[in-house]
């Protein structure tokens, strides 16, 4: 059972963080040329949609988006809940020689991103892969570092960070929960 402990971001905080990240992405890449935004199933997918809309609003830039499912590439399936479910992977354009911005909700051990990189490399050879995450909660087990971070949140391992999005959860917020009986 999870007990909610603290709210880290509300709807407005999330929007501001994503807007700032969008500016950083545009600045660093001097626009969005050759870029594909790729969301990691499942919440990364919704964050990609938010970023895509912000880019249109800011500079009327259209950028292709895709989704990546990494279930078949994981090395930590025991840690997940009972039956792993494979979702679709759909990247509409060839990833060869493109800049890929991987987007996920929470960066923790880095194992999800390791799996995502493997999955991505099986689809081709991107020229550059960057990583954007809404929350970096520390405790890395692999040498993986994000390029764009919404907020860094110090956590303990017994805590769980939940990013909630309107499309799935009915609300935009980030909360820290404590595993009871841990």
């Amino acid at each position: 059972m999870l007990k909610e402990k603290a709210k880290v971001m509300n709807e407005q905080d999330m929007e501001r963080a994503l807007k700032r990240m969008s500016h950083e992405i545009l600045e660093r890449n001097r626009g969005l040329r050759d870029m594909i935004l790729v969301g990691i199933q499942r919440r990364g997918v919704y964050l990609v949609n938010r970023l895509r809309d912000i880019f249109v609003g800011l500079e009327s830039l259209k950028v292709p988006t895709g989704v990546l499912d990494i279930t078949l590439y994981r090395d930590d399936l025991t840690l997940l809940h009972d039956q792993p479910v494979v979702h679709s992977t759909a990247i509409p354009e060839d990833v060869n020689a493109r800049r890929i911005l991987l987007v996920d909700d929470v960066l923790y051990t880095g194992r999800t991103i390791r799996a995502a990189l493997d999955a991505l490399m099986d689809l081709g050879r991107p020229s550059w892969v960057q990583l954007a995450v809404l929350i970096d909660r520390g405790h890395r087990e692999l040498p993986i570092h994000p390029d764009y971070v919404g907020r860094s949140v110090p956590t303990s391992r017994s805590e769980v960070v939940e990013v909630r999005v309107k499309e799935l959860d009915g609300t935009d917020e980030v909360v820290i929960c404590e595993r009871e009986g841990f």
Binding site: D82, V85, S88, L123
Partner: protein, 309 residues
């Protein structure tokens, strides 16, 4: 969802939500087959043994491809030229395979209940039934279900016409269970000598005239006619079978032009199906083959993926 079937022996105890889950997982695997690199590391380090006591091409090859695409280690064990020929019992074979570290065994056997027996003798390995006698062929039924679902969407309220040797067919038995559990109405046709005594008990209706069975059918499923049935006197001749029950352009005139034509293979041209129909636009036969690989990947991953504690 929690997966409650350790082995895949038959579909008797599968409910609709479990069938639906496998259909959706198969769709994800099907997408993977379009990629330039089809191999994913999901079953790295797992050993799968394909144990075939009866000849089989598509089931064995399709399991083997599925295993390889998921990065499992694969061993093929055929009855001829192996220890079975030297008199080893199925139980000893099971224990031998387990001692070798098999995480899963795919078994095809002529005796009803062979897969179930093997499963009861195995302490750790997962058993997939690749066909046991006239009992069950669950992976064939699931791939047929997926092929139809992929084309038609929701199957509830659809109609399947199955024509041929239902009595001796494990494919028929498993398909009738799978389709009717998804809400499909099943009608059977064929020589009365090749029909089960009580089709109603299987949830199906018998139609003497195959033209009646295929009328309004969304799926026309043709079963393979084994030549030895004719030698046993179940029907007069292969030509006569074709004339009365074979799927040719005449029979297809009674069916909807959108009806899908399916067959588990290998096909007997000019017996249960004419070349015109087998190679025609309604034929799903090669689609079934592709579905077979995706479906077996889904099942292998659902039963073997991750580390079970």
């Amino acid at each position: 969802m929690e997966w409650r079937h350790r082995h895949v022996l038959d579909l008797d105890s599968w409910d609709r939500s479990e069938l639906q889950h496998i259909l959706e997982q198969t769709r994800s695997m099907d997408e993977l087959l379009d990629r330039p690199i089809k191999k994913v590391p999901a079953l790295r380090g797992k050993l799968v043994v394909n144990l075939f006591f009866e000849p089989s091409t598509r089931t064995r090859v399709s399991f083997e491809l599925a295993e390889k695409f998921l990065s499992a280690d694969v061993v093929n064990w055929t009855a001829s030229g192996s220890s079975t020929g030297k008199g080893e019992t199925l139980r000893d074979t099971a224990w031998t395979l387990e001692a070798m570290g098999a995480d899963a065994v795919v078994v095809r056997h002529g005796a009803v209940g062979a897969a179930d027996y093997l499963a009861r003798k195995m302490r750790k390995s997962v058993v997939f039934n690749g066909g046991d006698g006239a009992h069950a062929h669950p992976t064939q039924a699931l791939l047929d279900l997926y092929t139809a679902w992929k084309r038609l969407g929701d199957l509830n309220g659809r109609k399947l016409a199955m024509i041929g040797d239902v009595l001796h067919s494990r494919v028929a038995r498993s398909d009738i269970i799978a389709f009717s559990r998804m809400g499909v109405k099943v009608e059977l046709s064929g020589p009365p000598t090749l029909m089960p005594r009580a089709p109603e008990a299987m949830g199906a209706i018998f139609r003497k005239d195959p033209h009646d069975a295929v009328r309004d059918a969304d799926i026309i499923y043709l079963l393979r006619i084994q030549r030895e049935r004719q030698e046993e006197g179940m029907f007069p001749s292969l030509d006569e079978y074709h004339q009365f029950f074979g799927a040719d352009s005449r029979l297809m005139e009674s069916a909807s032009p959108d009806a899908l034509v399916m067959h588990p293979g290998p096909i007997n041209r000019r017996v249960e199906i004419s070349s015109e129909v087998a190679d025609g636009p309604q034929s799903m036969i090669l689609g079934q083959v592709r579905s077979g690989v995706a479906l077996r990947m889904a099942l292998l991953f659902v039963c073997l993926g991750g580390v079970r504690q």
